[in-house]
Amino acid sequence: MAIQPKRNEMPTQDPALRAHNFEEVALGYSEKAAIAEASRCIHCKNAPCVSGCPVNVKIPDFLSAVKEGNFEEAYQIISLSSSLPAVCGRVCPQETQCEAKCTLGIKFEPLAIGRVERFVADRHNGSAAPAPEQPHPNGHRVAVVGSGPSGLACAGDLARLGYAVTVYEALHTPGGVLVYGIPEFRLPKAIVAKEVEGLKALGVSIQTNVVIGKTLLIDELFEMGFEAVFIGSGAGLPNFMNIPGESYKGVYSANEFLTRSDLMKAYRDTAATPIMKGGRVAVVGGGNVAMDAARTALRLGAEKVYIVYRRSMEELPARREEVEHAMEEGIEFLLLNNPVEILGYHNPDNPRDEKNGFVTGIRCVKMELGAPDERGRRRPVAIEGSEFELAVDAVIMAIGTSPNPLIKSTTEGLETKPWGGIVVEEATGLTSRPAVFAGGDAVTGAATVISAMGAGKLAAKSIDALLRKEN
């Protein structure tokens, strides 16, 4: 049978419609499309896709199960390696991971692995799955700091092995970046809640409103009887550009903008938390967070949204699907542009004018790509005399974060890199402190959900090995 050269399309909400609502953009495969897509797998000998996956999901095996219509079996195969299939099927950058390695991709479009994974996970979540078997308690206690992807993965794996796991979350809702960062239209919060409920059913205790490093210290967790600790506290404080005008009203970090909308539901008219709606918005940066902020601003009623990025489309790090969706929705990409100043309103005649101090625009300089830097990325260089002004009402900075200082500053002997990331042993996730492990953005700086999840799973394995050896 000839190979179908193109992947099966996944239906999406009409761009004109979805630009004004917070419902999920991508609608998922039908059963027929999922089977058709899974059937494109040629089961090549080396299965390079598996090595392209940060947690090595047995991709050809689960595709075989889907092809046969055995969706629950497919889910169980994915679950052997991944803790959050419904999440990863939606937010993984598959085009640079599993799908980049797909042999089909040499001649045709690579297999849409992420879409099939999502179908399998949604099918499982939609069916009345039997309550998970209660693991036999092994009598050992482990504390997990943070309930984002790395913490949830670590807690889940340990709970299945019989550990009594307590997860400490600083915010009022568990989920970490999955609830405060990634918007509803890309990852519905009900999916995250389902994953959290699943962990609770396994016996995991989740304590919200506890800031480790403040409310409780790492050393106190050991005094309380925990035998090992996993730190998955995530990314930290947002970076700013340190250009003039960054404290004008209407300048947000992407973290703040998204937290207001996602965690605090500011997109709802009845929300108690305010957010700027409407007007013209410039988002500075080119990652997934920048795309999320831009598309959120659009859905909040912005009349025009720009992405301002200093390199070209080729270097833009966001997930390809998000870039395409953003473009379809009408977001304008101002590539090879770098902000040099944010402009604000001043009424010289009336210091009490309520508009004083609000953003009116952003001054940018055009860039060109020069010689490659040490990482091989071509360095953007400002073109002299190319400055121009763009009239906007809000500026959202999405240029990364620096690790949160709270745990580092209160945990003696916890080594960190000069930029603040926690130092760990690569093979185990062990920090410089005995029985303290770490993973996710707190170690790597801003990265992906799947790599954080992988780090959580690795730490769970290492913790199990450590506690077995000791007992």
């Binding site: 800031v211 700013f240 404290s247 973290n255 703040e256 605090m264 108690a272 949160n404 709270l406």
Partner: protein, 284 residues
């Protein structure tokens, strides 16, 4: 859920509550803050710790009804619960090694200044306290301040109680008399703290101010609480939630902080009115 153990009205707009939060009470220190949500749909607001009882496991908050959330909170009664209460956050006020301190409090800021004065007093420092209010009916915590200080001056804007004027006038008098404070700790409205700094400057006395910017998570994630500081002529961005809330008053860009604090003024006004109407309806 966190229970309101005690509630007391300090004046018509200022309420004091002791909240059961044993983990927070165990660690809280003067100058730190907490974040709370009144209910599941509520916003997160920061309030500075006004006291605590480690034995009882309670944390004291004192707040003025200024908007929708504080109106909802003030409507809660003893025995009722609030949804979330997290802390203690921020860096405690530096109180060690000081022997002669002037504590300046303005309005509801006095609620935060009091535990600082008490701690200094307990450590054996000589404390001169100056507290200021708009008028006599807004006066709070006078007796508590008297007990925690070696000398207390009360001022009101309209002269209805104590000396007439604002807090900088008695401060100026003390400084002119040659009082050699190791430090001045000022807690109150931004404009008050700004003028305390200006008053102290000619005398070269260090001033610590307690900043209370807009905050969301309060744990070092969102960056909403950022402040502009000037260090050696260079502009530096700091975050009140993890670097503060106390800062060197000479470094803080107050104009900037005042402007940013007014970001949601019109939203807040509308939300407040809507909440007041709702609360009134509930009473009818």
């Amino acid at each position: 859920m966190y229970q309101i153990i005690r509630k007391r009205c300090l004046n018509p707009t200022v309420t004091q509550m002791d909240i059961a939060a044993p983990l927070v009470a165990r660690k809280a220190k003067a100058g730190q803050f907490i974040i709370l949500r009144v209910d599941e749909e509520g916003e997160r607001i920061p309030l500075t710790v006004a006291g605590y009882s480690r034995e009882e496991g309670t944390v004291r908050i004192i707040f003025q009804t200024v908007g929708a959330t504080t109106a909802l909170l003030a409507a809660k009664e003893e025995g009722e619960y609030i949804a979330d209460f997290v802390g203690p956050l921020g860096v405690p006020t530096e109180t060690e090694g000081l022997s002669r301190v002037c504590v300046v409090g303005g309005g509801v800021g006095c609620a935060i200044a009091l535990p600082v004065a008490e701690e200094l007093h307990r450590l054996g420092a000589s404390v001169s306290a100056i507290i200021g209010f708009r008028s006599k009916d807004l006066l709070i915590l006078e007796e508590e301040f008297r007990a925690a200080s070696d000398s207390l001056t009360v001022v009101t804007d309209d002269g209805s109680y104590g000396e007439k004027g604002n807090v900088t006038q008695p401060l100026q008098v003390l400084l002119e008399k040659g009082e050699k404070f190791d430090r001045i700790i000022a807690i109150g409205p931004l404009v008050m703290m700004k003028f305390v700094v200006a008053t102290a400057k000619p005398y070269g006395i260090p001033v610590t101010v307690s900043m209370n910017p807009i905050m969301i998570d309060g744990t070092g994630m969102c960056g909403g609480c950022r402040l502009t500081l000037w260090q050696d002529g260079k502009r530096v961005t700091k975050f009140a939630c993890v670097d503060g809330p106390d800062f060197d008053g000479y470094q803080v860009d107050f104009e900037d902080a005042m402007s940013r604090g007014a970001m949601y003024r019109s939203f807040e006004r509308h939300a407040y009115e809507a909440t007041c109407n709702l609360l009134k309806k509930g009473e009818e």
